[in-house]
Symmetry: C2
Subunit: 504 residues, 2 copies
């Protein structure tokens, strides 16, 4: 316990160490929790578990606000225990997803840079308990976060009470990597003084009124590793297409060889595409992103990335071991910020980011669906993709052109849910190629998307839809009767292919 | 001519005065023109007309880029003459609209804050001729714009050649109202040093390399007055609902009595809703908007608005006379900026704007269509609504609940085109009431929208759709087979009302 207590540098606060069960017992029905955690990294682990245990013999419900998705099966356990009223702004757990789609609790699918403004301006429920993972608490009560910051700063600033989980399994070398900056209220704030990804503009930890720290719990548990799959033949081809596009941009003088700071969304495809840069000619790259996944560290190792800014580090099991065992090699090349800053429109527009995010599907005019399977069922959430796509210099979306062995085309006549409109999508990439949509009217985008991105097995079918729609005219020709026929065909016949339609 | 020549303060430049016909003769097939003009204000008038005249005996096509829509029937004449290849980023002319929807030329419907970035970073065609209306040219060649700035600064900076139209019908007192600020390239720029609507951060005119000024044309022609209709009983009721919402925000402490800087979109409904504040208790208001329409000057006259920032002043005939005949009363309360700055995400987020824009239709989940009639036919364009809605503190959309005597419901199951996604829409207002969607999951938004915003004649029909969809579950329940049935019913039977469907 002594070694553990060394993580608390304030004598007074050492007296507030409690068990996870005790801390969880303070939480009562109807409360709102602001929990650390962003894409499985830096989530609190012990208090949420203890809270779930209470549900076995007690009825209560809470609102759960986080940075993004959680690891350690917390979202799964919460969903199964039935103790959630409202969850925001992002999740990625299959069990939770199912409960959301059954309407068992409310999921507010929210831009990741916006939640902090809602809390600051008291638009949503006030935070009763901020529950934050840390690696230590300094003499002055400053809380040093662990592998993510997410919304922890704004939770701590506005919570009535704070519970800190000090996780001794998290690398202490993370101290110094964090940069905590909190804008004033809208209308009273100054420009955010950040003009380069490596700029430090804030504090190394979360400064709080220590009287709000009600309890401190010790844990020793690593983050859940990321679930990304390794790059495959198709994602390598997609990476090559993206590189071809970027090379053309350099050739035309629109980008330099150092490109522009890169943002890459969560998930296997975005990670794999970014990984494709390891063998490219591009050097002295910079990353300004939410999550750093494996690929960014591979790029640092390969001498391609000079610096990376993030709000979370989420790695596979193997990569986690490698990175955290030699963290002294990386720490000068990293800064971790609140998600409000990593995803801030002011910074994204100023730096002119190249933003790479994954689409579920997109349509022949370039509208992108990032969230809803068949237009109705939530997958994970929009996450930061809207923050980036709306304000980036280059909003790029990647997806494989088909899914389910070809029964689903990712390119459809009309996206069944729209998270990113035609106005916000610059380039779409599949394993077939890329379509550069910038400066094109809707009718000009169609051939680019069909010929360059759609799978050959669906091209004729897409042309048929478009050519029939074209007979009716319009800026954006459509046949509304048939706009979702591909999705309804899939629902009825298990495929979007028309042959099946004809056979029925 | 002497009096006119006094408007050119540089001796050398006086020698470049030419006729509109001469200036128009320099423009050749395939060129790209960057023309001043934003919602009928400050558009160039003589050179475009002379260019149209050439089309009677000569075949050519040009790209026409502007700030926003033009007056003086320029867009109509261009469209009729068939001399356009590509038009961007906005228009509002019925003849042009028809040609766009027939696919006669390409219309790129673009966020108004983005065009400047595309030009600066050479994403779209380079500007061959910037053609800019001015009130004068100073000793050092600085061009003083007239009633709009729009994209004129970026056009002038990047054009190969510049033609200036000095319009002696425009009030000279406008000099000093303009504030021209141009960000450096993305990745090289500093924060935009603007923290209050009244801040002046740039120059009073457009500083150019005078060697690029190829010709100067004199005109004497007032701007086309705006075509807005006066507030009616329904828009007054809508304004009252909006005021009720704002009062609740003040009561809850989320806004002060001075509210927050207001943006209001172009058009009669947004103007009328803003006008409704004249008789409200709110005072010391500030406006940070694109276009100032009549209502803002009524609010200044009523002592309600202290200061207004804009990129264009577009008034009705009567209001134009009143404002410009006593402009000394207004000029200290106004600043006019490039549309890149009036619509900049950095500033919109920093100031925490209250943004009020008009919707064509919205759906039961809060997705908004601003542009496409029945999902296919372009109305005007997205304009700045996306710039504001995406980054404002409060993104409010207003529309009447029905159109065409009730045959169209503005609230539909699935918006037939989506310009603003559910993630970006905070409040929707009709003459029926308002729905505050903040913090609500999709299923929670439905009753708010149906009960508070839909017309009573359509409420049951909306509930029927939703309740049937709900049986299938999902975060966002839909029946894709029927999602656009209201639109297709209207196309076939002239009404969205189901009774007709049943009778068929």
């Amino acid at each position: 316990m002594t070694a553990k207590l060394d993580r608390i540098h304030d004598e007074d606060l050492r007296g507030r160490v409690v068990s996870a069960e005790s801390a969880a017992s303070w939480i009562t029905d109807g409360m709102t929790l602001g929990m650390s955690g962003f894409t499985r990294a830096g989530d609190v682990k012990a208090v949420p578990s203890a809270l779930v245990n209470r549900a076995a013999h007690e009825q209560f419900k809470v609102n759960v606000f986080t940075g993004a998705s959680l690891g350690s099966d917390i979202d799964k356990m919460f969903a199964e225990a039935g103790i959630i009223n409202k969850r925001l702004p992002f999740q990625a757990d299959p069990v939770m997803r199912k409960k959301i789609n059954q309407g068992e609790f409310m999921f507010v699918d929210h831009h990741l840079s916006h939640t902090s403004e809602w809390i600051r301006h008291e638009v949503i429920e006030p935070i009763d308990y901020a529950i934050l993972e840390a690696i230590s608490i300094k003499e002055d009560g400053t809380i040093i976060p662990s592998t993510s910051i997410g919304n922890s700063l704004v939770f701590a600033e506005h919570a009535k009470n704070i519970i800190v989980e000090i996780n001794t399994a998290q690398p202490e070398l993370l101290e110094g990597v964090h940069d905590l900056y909190s804008p004033a209220k809208q209308g009273e704030r100054q420009p955010i003084p950040l003009t380069k990804p490596e700029d430090r503009i804030g504090e190394q930890g979360i400064k709080v009124d220590t009287s709000k720290i009600k309890g401190i719990v010790f844990t020793h548990q690593e983050d859940s590793p990321s679930t990304i799959t390794q790059p495959d033949e198709e994602t390598k081809i997609m990476a090559d297409h993206l590189l071809d596009f970027l090379r053309d941009e350099v050739k035309s003088g629109r980008l330099t060889e150092e490109l522009a700071p890169i943002q890459s969304g969560i998930g296997s495809v975005a990670n794999a595409v970014l990984h494709g840069m390891v063998d490219s000619e591009f050097e002295h790259l910079q990353v300004y992103s939410e999550v750093l996944q494996d690929a960014v560290f591979d790029l640092i190792d390969a001498g391609k990335v000079d610096f990376a800014s993030c709000c979370s580090i989420t790695l596979s099991e193997e990569k986690m071991k490698q990175v955290f065992s030699q963290f002294e090699n990386y720490r000068d090349k990293l800064v971790m910020r609140p998600q409000e800053i990593s995803n801030h429109p002011e910074i994204i527009r100023r730096l002119g980011l190249i933003s790479i995010n994954t689409a579920l599907e997109f349509d022949i005019y370039g509208n992108v669906n990032s969230t809803h399977v068949s237009g109705t069922k939530m997958m994970n959430g929009i996450g930061g993709s809207g923050d980036f796509a709306r304000n980036a210099k280059l909003a790029i979306f990647v997806t494989k052109s088909i899914a389910k062995d070809g029964d689903i085309s990712s390119i459809v006549p009309f996206a069944s849910h729209i998270d990113h409109t035609e106005h916000d999508v610059d380039v779409v990439v599949t394993e077939q190629g890329y379509a550069d949509l910038r400066g094109l009217a809707p009718r000009e985008r169609v051939p680019q998307i069909i010929e360059n991105c759609a799978h050959p097995m669906y091209r004729e079918q897409l042309w048929n839809y478009y050519l029939e729609a074209l007979e009716h005219g319009g800026q954006t020709p459509h046949i509304l009767e048939k706009a979702f026929s591909w999705h309804t065909n899939y629902a009825k016949n298990g495929t979007m292919q028309e042959r099946t339609l004809e056979m029925v």
